[in-house]
C-alpha cells in the first residue's frame, strides 16, 4: 500500500493588503506610488512613511499527511479553515509557499461546478471540452459518451446551450464527466450539495465503486452523514493546521467537539445554581452510549442512556424525572418519564441524591443531531403536574450510522427519511408453513414448567438418558412428575452427569443396553408402554465419527430405524420426538441460518448420519406413523452447553478440564461460528413440541429448529474470551496442527419454533456460560448436584421472571 498522496509540511501564505482601494495592481499605480514616496521623502524627510499594511495570512500551515491508495478520505472543517486551498494545492492549481506535495496518479478534481463549461456551447460539445480539460483523450470521451449522458440524465437537452441548464443539470453533467474519467485520484469539493437526493445517491454509489476499484477519493464536506457514508478516513483542518487524522468515526467525534462548542453530551451545575427549587435540584445530566466513553457521536445501533443526577431536598413527594427529545428540525421525537419505572412510580421519595437512567433502545433513532429538554416534576395531578425543573437545550448528541450492517439502513447509502428509524419485525408470507400449522396459531402454547400438569403421570420413554442432554431432560421430566423410562448405554465418560446428579433416582426404569440391539430396544419399550418418546441416543461427536464412521452410522441411523420399528409395532404411543442435530443440513458456509426445509447433507460421518436420520424420520412418518396416528417430529438444535458435560473434544468441557488442571487449552478452530445455547433451551423446545404432538397430533409432525438467538451464534474465540473474563484462570492458544474438516459457519433459523410453538430462547449466551460455570463450581465443591441441577431447571422457568 504505497502512499499515493504525500504532503509534507505544506504551507500556503497569502498577503492581504489593507490600504488598497483597487482590486488589483496596475502599472500606473506602482509608478505613481513610487514617485509619491520619493517626493514624500524629499518634502517631509522626518515624517513616518505610511506604508500599505501588509498582513500575512497563512491559509495552510505545516500540514502533513499521507494518503494510501484506495483510501476514501473526508476532509471536514469549519469554513475558512483552508480546505479549498488544500484542494487547490493538491490539484496543482496553485503552488505551496513551503513544504512539498507528491502525487502519484492521474488527478481529477471537481472544485467547482462546470469548470471548463462554456455557456454558449451545447451539452454535447461541453462534454468533449470538459473531458479534454480534465485530461481525457477524444477517443476516451467518445467511448464513454453514452455512459456519461445516461449517468447525467440529460439526453433531452444534449443539444441546447449549457447556459440554459438548471444548476442541478449542470452539476450532474459536470460530475458525470469527472466520474467517467477513470482517474486514480478523485477530489471533490462540496459540489454535490446542489443535486437532489436521487442524484446524490447515485454519486455516492459511484464514489463507493471508486473506492472498490482502488481509486483514492478525497471529499470535502460539512455534512457529517455524507462523510460517514463515503469515507473510511477523516482529516480535520482547523485554521490552516491539521487538527486530526484518523478513522472517520473518530474524526467525526472530534469535529463535533469543535463545531458544536456549547452543546455537549453532559452538563453539570454547581449546586446553588442548579435548576430546580426547594423540592428538588437537577445537578447533572449526561448522555452516553458506551459506559465510560467520551464523545457525543453515538452508533445508531447502540442504545443511548440518558442519566439524570438530582438531589431531592424535601421528603414525601413523588418525584418524576422526564425529558423531551428534540431533533435538529426542532421536532419533539418523543417524551419519556420515570413514571414508566414500575418500582418507583408513585413512590414518595426520601431526601437524598438520586441517579435515574433512561435507556433509548438502539436501532430506534434516526441519524441526526438531538437535544434534550430536562424536566423533573411531581405528578400529583395528571392534567397539571407541578414542575420543578424545566431546562431546554441541556445536552445534545449525534447519532450516526457506521454502515457496518445491523442498522435499519442496511446497504442503502442515499437519503433515508423518517423521524425515527426502528428495525421492525416483518413476516414475509406464511406460505412457508403448512396449512395445518396456521390453524394452531390461535391456540396458546405454554412453557414447560414444574407447575405444568401436562407431563404429570405421563409415561415417557427416553433413549440416551445417561448422556449429557439426556440427563438434564430426564431430571426435568422427573421434576414435572412424569414416569420416565430410560434406555441407553452406560454413561460415555467416567465422570458424568448421570451418576453425579443421580439421574437414576427418580426414574421408573433405566435399561442399560445398545440402541443397535433392536430386540432389546423393542422389549424395553413394550414393558415401559410409553405415550411419549424422546430419542436422544446417538454417537454425538464429529471427531469420533472420523475415527469410527461405521459405528457412527450404525448407532445414529440404524439406531433410529430400530426405534421406529419398535414404535410402529406398539400401540399407545402418541408422540415421538427424534432429536437429530443442527449439523444435518448441507452446509454451504452461509451467514444466514438454515431453515427446516433446506437440504439435508453433512460433510463428515457424524453430520451425514444425522442427515440420514432425518431422511429415515421423514420416510417412517409418511409411510408408517402418520397413517397409524402417531405424531413424529424431529428436532434440531445447536451446540448445547451446560454443567455436567465431560465429553471429549467439546469446547466447554475441554475448557473446564484445562482450567481445573491449570493447563493451556488448545483451541481448534477459533473462528468457527456455532449456534451456542444452554442445554435447557432446546430441551424446553422438545418438551413443548411433545406436548403439542400429543394434543394436536399431525399438525406438528415436522422438523423443527431450536437454535439460539441470532446474536448468540458466536465464534469459538468469543466463547473462550468470555470464559476467560469470568474465570481468570483460563489460558488458551490456537491449535495449529491440521484438523479434520469442521464447518466454519453454522446458524439455525428458528423462526418456525418462535412463531408456531411460541418457543423463545430464554437464557442468552452469557447467562448460559455463567450457569455452566456455577454448576461446575458447585461440582468442584462436592455439593448435591441433583439439587443444583434441579434448581437450575427451576430457575429456567418463566414464572420466576428470569433473564
Amino acid at each position: 500500500m504505497s502512499s499515493v498522496i504525500r504532503v509534507e509540511n505544506l504551507s500556503k501564505k497569502y498577503i492581504i493588503d489593507h490600504q488598497k482601494q483597487e482590486r488589483y495592481t496596475t502599472l500606473r499605480d506602482v509608478l505613481a506610488n513610487g514617485v509619491k514616496r520619493r517626493l514624500g521623502k524629499l518634502l517631509h524627510p522626518s515624517a513616518r512613511q505610511k506604508d500599505a499594511e501588509h498582513e500575512e495570512f497563512w491559509a495552510l500551515k505545516e500540514v502533513s499527511f499521507d494518503i494510501q491508495q484506495g483510501d476514501r478520505v473526508g476532509i471536514i472543517s469549519r469554513n475558512g479553515a483552508g480546505k479549498s486551498t488544500l484542494l487547490k494545492v493538491l490539484s496543482r492549481i496553485t503552488e505551496p509557499t513551503s513544504g512539498r506535495v507528491s502525487i502519484k496518479g492521474r488527478v481529477a478534481s471537481l472544485l467547482e461546478v462546470g469548470t471548463g463549461f462554456h455557456p454558449e456551447l451545447t451539452g454535447r460539445e461541453n462534454i468533449f471540452l470538459n473531458g479534454a480539460i480534465l485530461g481525457m483523450s477524444k477517443a476516451e470521451i467518445k467511448n464513454k459518451f453514452d455512459e456519461i449522458v445516461s449517468f447525467a440524465e440529460v439526453e433531452k437537452f444534449l443539444d441546447t446551450p449549457v447556459k440554459r441548464y438548471s444548476s442541478g443539470m449542470y452539476v450532474r453533467l459536470a460530475f458525470a464527466v469527472a466520474a467517467h474519467l477513470e482517474p486514480e485520484i478523485l477530489i471533490v469539493d462540496e459540489v454535490l450539495a446542489v443535486g437532489d437526493a436521487g442524484f446524490q445517491n447515485k454519486c455516492f454509489k459511484k464514489m463507493g465503486e471508486f473506492g472498490g476499484r482502488g481509486v483514492t477519493v478525497l471529499v470535502v464536506s460539512h455534512n457529517i452523514s455524507v462523510i460517514t457514508r463515503l469515507c473510511n478516513r477523516g482529516i480535520i483542518l482547523q485554521s490552516g493546521r491539521l487538527d486530526f487524522d484518523g478513522t472517520v468515526l473518530d474524526a467525526v467525534n472530534r469535529y463535533s467537539e469543535i463545531a458544536s462548542g456549547d452543546i455537549r453530551p453532559y452538563k453539570i451545575w454547581a449546586e446553588p445554581a442548579a435548576p430546580g427549587n426547594e423540592v428538588v435540584r437537577l445537578l447533572s445530566i449526561k448522555a452516553y452510549s458506551v459506559a465510560n466513553e467520551q464523545g457525543d457521536v453515538f452508533d445508531i445501533r447502540r442504545p443511548v442512556t440518558i442519566e439524570f443526577s438530582y438531589r431531592v431536598c424535601q421528603s414525601g413527594k413523588t418525584i418524576n424525572p422526564a425529558f423531551f427529545l428534540y431533533n435538529q428540525d426542532n421536532i419533539i421525537v418523543f417524551i419519556s418519564g420515570g413514571m414508566h419505572d414500575p418500582e418507583w412510580a408513585g413512590r414518595q421519595r426520601q431526601a437524598g441524591l438520586y441517579t435515574s437512567r433512561c435507556i433509548i433502545p438502539g436501532n430506534f433513532l434516526a441519524e441526526g443531531t438531538y437535544s434534550i429538554q430536562a424536566i423533573i416534576n411531581t405528578m400529583d395531578n395528571i392534567k397539571s403536574p407541578t414542575v420543578h425543573v424545566n431546562e431546554k437545550d441541556t445536552i445534545g448528541f449525534k447519532i450516526y450510522d457506521p454502515l457496518e450492517g445491523g442498522s435499519a439502513r442496511g446497504e442503502h447509502r442515499g437519503a433515508y427519511y423518517g423521524v425515527v428509524r426502528p428495525i421492525l419485525e416483518w413476516d414475509i408470507g406464511l406460505a412457508f408453513f403448512s396449512t395445518q400449522a396456521r390453524k394452531t396459531m390461535t391456540t396458546t402454547i405454554n412453557y414447560p414448567q414444574s407447575t405444568n400438569t401436562f407431563f404429570k403421570g405421563k409415561k415417557v420413554f427416553l433413549t440416551g438418558h445417561t448422556g449429557f442432554k439426556g440427563g438434564w431432560l430426564s431430571l426435568w421430566l422427573q421434576s414435572m412428575g412424569a414416569e420416565v423410562h430410560g434406555y441407553a448405554l452406560n454413561p460415555p465418560t467416567e465422570t458424568n452427569i448421570f451418576s453425579v446428579a443421580e439421574v437414576n433416582k427418580g426414574m421408573a426404569s433405566s435399561v442399560i443396553a445398545d440402541i443397535r440391539d433392536a430386540g432389546k430396544l423393542s422389549q424395553a419399550m413394550k414393558s415401559a408402554g410409553p405415550e411419549i418418546i424422546f430419542h436422544m441416543a446417538a454417537q454425538p461427536l464429529v471427531r469420533y465419527s472420523y475415527a469410527h464412521p461405521a459405528e457412527t452410522y450404525e448407532v445414529n441411523v440404524m439406531g433410529t430405524v430400530n426405534l421406529f420399528e419398535a414404535v410402529r409395532t406398539m400401540s399407545g404411543v402418541k408422540a415421538v420426538v427424534n432429536v437429530t442435530s443442527d449439523k444435518c443440513y448441507e452446509n454451504h458456509e452461509w451467514e444466514r441460518g438454515y431453515r427446516e426445509n433446506e437440504a439435508m447433507g453433512g460433510f463428515d460421518p457424524y453430520s451425514s448420519s444425522k442427515g440420514c436420520a432425518e431422511l429415515v424420520t421423514a420416510a417412517y412418518r409418511r409411510s408408517f406413523l402418520d397413517p397409524a396416528g402417531i405424531a413424529l417430529a424431529s428436532a434440531r438444535a445447536g451446540n448445547v452447553i451446560g454443567g455436567g458435560d465431560w465429553a471429549a473434544d467439546r469446547l466447554i468441557p475441554d475448557l473446564l478440564r484445562a482450567m481445573d488442571a491449570g493447563e493451556t487449552l488448545k483451541v481448534r478452530s477459533p473462528d468457527s461460528i456455532r449456534p451456542w445455547q444452554h442445554v435447557l433451551e432446546p430441551l424446553s423446545g422438545y418438551l413443548m413440541l411433545a406436548e403439542q404432538l400429543y394434543s394436536d397430533g399431525a399438525s406438528f409432525a415436522e422438523a423443527w429448529n431450536f437454535g439460539p438467538a441470532d446474536e448468540d451464534a458466536r465464534p469459538v474465540k468469543w466463547i473462550v474470551e468470555r470464559m476467560a473474563e469470568m474465570r481468570k484462570d483460563v489460558k488458551w492458544q490456537c491449535d495449529e496442527t491440521p484438523q479434520p474438516h469442521e464447518a466454519n459457519y453454522l446458524k439455525l433459523d428458528s423462526s418456525k419454533a418462535h412463531r408456531l410453538l411460541n418457543w423463545q430462547p430464554r437464557w442468552r449466551l452469557q447467562t448460559a456460560l455463567q450457569k455452566t460455570l456455577e454448576w461446575h463450581g458447585a461440582w468442584r465443591k462436592d455439593e448435591d448436584m441433583r439439587a443444583v441441577t434441579l434448581a437450575q431447571i427451576a430457575a429456567y422457568q418463566p414464572e420466576k421472571q428470569n433473564s
Binding site: 495592481t25 487547490k88 496553485t94 503552488e95
Partner: protein, 166 residues
C-alpha cells in the same frame, strides 16, 4: 478557469500565437494568388522561408509571453500593448524598405526584431537584387531568441502565482 482547473498555463499564450499563425497562412494564400496574377515566379531563396516564419513565430511568442506574464501582475499592461504595436508599425519596414535607413542608424534600427523578420521575408520571396543586411539581421534574430528564452523563463516562474492573483 486558471484558478479552477489544472492545465499548463503555457497553453494560453501559445494558443493565441498558433491561432494567428493560421491567419498568417490564409494571408499566404492571398500572396500566392497575387503572385499568380502578376506572373511572378519564385526563385530558390523561397526555400529559406520556413526559417523566417520560425523567427516570426519566436518573436510573437516571446513578446506574447512577456506581456501575458506582466499583464497578470499589472492589469493595465494590456492597455499599453496597442500603443507599442502602433509604434512598432512605424519603425518596422512595413511601409518602407530598409534601404532608406542611413548607415549609421542601421544597427540601432535592427534592434527591432521585426526588422530581421520582414527583411528576411522580402529577401526570400522577392528574390532578385534585394539584399539582406546580414549584421542587422543576425542582431535582430539574436534579440528575438533572447526575448523568447527570457520570456519563457519569466512566464514559468510567475505562472505559479497566477492562480492566486487572478
Amino acid at each position: 478557469m486558471i484558478s479552477k482547473v489544472y492545465f499548463p498555463r503555457l497553453v494560453v499564450p501559445a494558443s493565441a500565437v498558433i491561432v494567428s499563425f493560421v491567419d498568417f497562412l490564409i494571408s499566404g494564400v492571398i500572396l500566392v494568388g497575387l503572385m499568380v496574377w502578376y506572373g511572378f515566379a519564385p526563385n530558390l531563396r523561397m526555400l529559406a522561408l520556413p526559417i523566417f516564419i520560425f523567427v516570426a513565430f519566436a518573436a510573437a511568442m516571446g513578446a506574447g509571453l512577456w506581456i501575458a506574464a506582466l499583464n497578470v501582475k499589472y492589469r493595465d499592461f494590456r492597455i499599453v500593448v496597442p500603443f507599442v504595436v502602433q509604434f512598432g508599425l512605424y519603425i518596422s519596414p512595413v511601409g518602407f524598405s530598409s534601404n532608406i535607413v542611413p548607415e549609421q542608424w542601421r544597427l540601432l534600427y535592427s534592434l527591432n526584431p521585426m526588422v530581421g523578420v520582414i527583411d528576411g521575408f522580402r529577401w526570400a520571396i522577392l528574390g532578385g537584387d534585394t539584399r539582406l543586411y546580414w549584421p542587422g539581421f543576425l542582431l535582430s534574430v539574436s534579440l528575438v531568441l533572447v526575448i523568447l528564452i527570457t520570456g519563457i523563463i519569466y512566464f514559468r516562474t510567475t505562472e505559479k502565482t497566477f492562480a492566486d492573483v487572478i
